[in-house]
């Protein structure tokens, strides 16, 4: 079997490795070659020890080791730390920063024998839906290079869709794995909050952030997730086994929050594609029911209070004192404000101001505390709904990939990208985006995605339905 680099799954590559048709070194060379010819600007850099990593993986295989990720090349979003490697979160403020330790997910991937090839482009500090807010470059969508790949994990999505790596890690705070996955026609998975350690992930919104994979198949997402998940003493928000229940029966019922589909700006193509996706799920044996989940429609409003609040607090650490960019100024206060002036881009500054405002005396109750209370209502509503249905289905995005530059004037319009995805972050529940077909716009076939959400710790429900959905489309 020869490898089709654009579509090869981890499972395909693993069988080529175990049959001896390929080695980790030959795979690494093949993908590095593809990366060197990349025209989408998906990567911010490749690592200098890829060959050594691959040789070590081949040695482990020769010694009799087997593991689904042994010798598999993977890319990592530029906000996940690898000891001794540059990592910038797509920001000038960390331009020359070298990670002094590795994230827990990296330790786990390395133990599993994955070969980490490079770091992918992203919106600065994961704030954005297009990679246009990266301080370095705008990644292009491999399906139409005039369009964005989505974001903030746009580099990871473009890298997988373009066949530059078989899979990549991203991080998802409001949809940053699922939305670019949908735009680029790949699978994107956000785990339950606390399923995967955030140790070594550069923080954006700490009560929302989760690390998740972008892959060619649901099975591949499951492989990576199962490798990186689990409690971690270095992240006290990871949960121990038994905190939440696990699915007892095979999933049967899928709920559709009809009211949310009528949100302004949901394209006709997306609605039609979603209807067709539901038909496929029906033909795969699932029962589709309408559900009421009014709080879900307010998730985006909660998000744009809670997230900037956490951003303004998390990004306080970039002050030019102990690491990162520092301007030369006569006194410390001026150094703080000038370092942050030169180091942060406009979107980061906007969210810092917004977060500072909603947390400031006099507005804290009106905005932040109110949003936290609303969040509690959504969490309860999810629990109630998931006692009746096994999963919730929505489109992943209101429209397919937009043109580069189309949304740079109006931040609120860009924020609306997250309307279907933020609910899972606010509620903490797991969610997946699976390619569901295409929409033809101006001669380009642009991918669309189906999103499924499930109860806390019910990732298996999503993998089961996701695989059935993939099957139903073939």
């Amino acid at each position: 079997m020869s490898i089709h680099i654009k579509t090869a799954t981890i499972t395909d590559l693993q069988s080529a490795l175990s049959d001896g048709e390929e080695t980790a070194v030959s795979l690494a060379e093949m993908y590095l070659d593809a990366i060197s010819g990349d025209e989408t600007d998906a990567f911010l850099g490749t690592y200098d020890d890829v060959r050594e990593q691959a040789q070590a993986a081949d040695q482990r295989r020769a010694d009799g080791e087997e593991s689904p990720l042994l010798g598999i090349p993977l890319a990592v979003k530029d906000n996940i730390l690898i000891d001794g490697k540059p990592v910038s979160a797509g920001s000038k403020i960390l331009e020359d920063y070298v990670a002094p330790y590795s994230a827990t997910v990296i330790d786990k991937l390395q133990s599993a024998g994955a070969v980490l090839v490079g770091r992918t482009n992203m919106d600065e500090f994961a704030m954005g839906s297009s990679t246009e807010h990266s301080a370095y470059q705008t990644t292009k969508n491999p399906h139409d290079t005039g369009r964005v790949p989505g974001g903030s994990s746009g580099g990871s999505a473009a890298a997988v869709a373009g066949g530059l790596v078989p899979a990549a890690l991203g991080s998802d705070t409001g949809g940053s794995v699922r939305q670019p996955a949908s735009f680029c026609g790949v699978v994107g998975f956000k785990p339950t909050y606390g399923a995967v350690s955030r140790y070594g992930l550069i923080a954006m919104g700490s009560s929302l952030d989760q690390i998740g994979p972008l892959t060619h198949s649901v099975a591949d997402a499951e492989i990576i997730h199962n490798t990186i998940a689990g409690p971690d003493k270095r992240d006290s928000t990871t949960y121990a086994e038994g905190i939440y229940g696990t699915p007892t029966d095979a999933p049967k019922t899928i709920g559709v929050p009809r009211a949310l589909l009528d949100t302004d700006g949901v394209s006709t193509d997306v609605k039609e594609n979603f209807t067709a996706a539901l038909e496929n799920l029906k033909s795969a044996g699932y029962e589709i029911v309408d559900i009421e989940l009014p709080a879900l429609a307010e998730a985006l409003a909660m998000y744009y209070i809670i997230m900037p609040a956490e951003v303004s607090s998390n990004l306080a650490r970039y002050d030019g004192v102990s690491y990162g960019l520092r301007t030369q100024d006569a006194d410390l206060f001026t150094q703080y404000i000038n370092t942050r002036r030169d180091g942060f881009g406009p979107e980061v500054k906007r969210r810092l101001l917004l977060g500072t405002y909603v947390l400031s005396a006099g507005y804290y109750d009106a905005y932040y505390r109110t949003a936290v209370r609303a969040r509690q209502v959504l969490e309860k509503a999810f629990t109630e709904v998931f006692s009746k249905v096994d999963a919730i289905a929505t489109p992943t995005t209101p429209a397919p990939a937009f043109r580069i530059g189309d949304m740079s004037d109006d931040p609120l319009e860009m924020y609306m990208q997250d309307v279907f995805t933020v609910g899972a972050n606010i509620g903490g529940v797991p969610a997946i985006s699976i390619p569901s077909g295409t929409s033809t716009i101006e001669g380009s076939e642009l991918p669309l995605g189906l999103q499924l959400m499930a109860a806390n710790n019910h990732e298996d429900t999503l993998f089961t339905i996701g695989k059935d959905f993939e099957q139903s489309q073939t």
């Binding site: 744009y304 990162g324 404000i337 500054k349 905005y367 109110t370 209370r373 509690q376």
Partner: protein, 94 residues
């Protein structure tokens, strides 16, 4: 309630100089966003008494400390300015 956005004051609180950014436009952006997010009130009204979630923030046991200085070099390597005794150099506070 968001008509009185004082960008200069917030930017000072946020410890960020806005350089040549258009502060009127920023204020307008923020006003738009705040007007959009104010709808959370509708939902918040249904909230009951605050509850503790399933995931608890926990402290580790204060045991097994690492060797003093084990990470010192790796961390100081990233500092913008360090003196010969290994202290980070900063400009005067006042």
């Amino acid at each position: 309630m968001s008509d009185d956005i004082d960008i200069e004051k917030i930017s000072k609180l946020a410890r960020v100089d806005l350089g040549d950014a258009d502060t009127d436009e920023l204020a307008a952006n923020i006003r738009d966003i705040l007007s959009y997010v104010s709808s959370v009130e509708k939902v918040a009204g249904e909230a009951g008494a605050p509850e503790v979630g399933a995931v608890r923030n926990v402290l580790r046991e204060d045991t097994d400390p690492h060797e003093p200085g084990a990470y010192r070099e790796a961390l100081l390597r990233e500092a913008p300015a360090v003196d010969e005794d290994g202290f980070i150099v900063v400009p005067p506070i006042l």
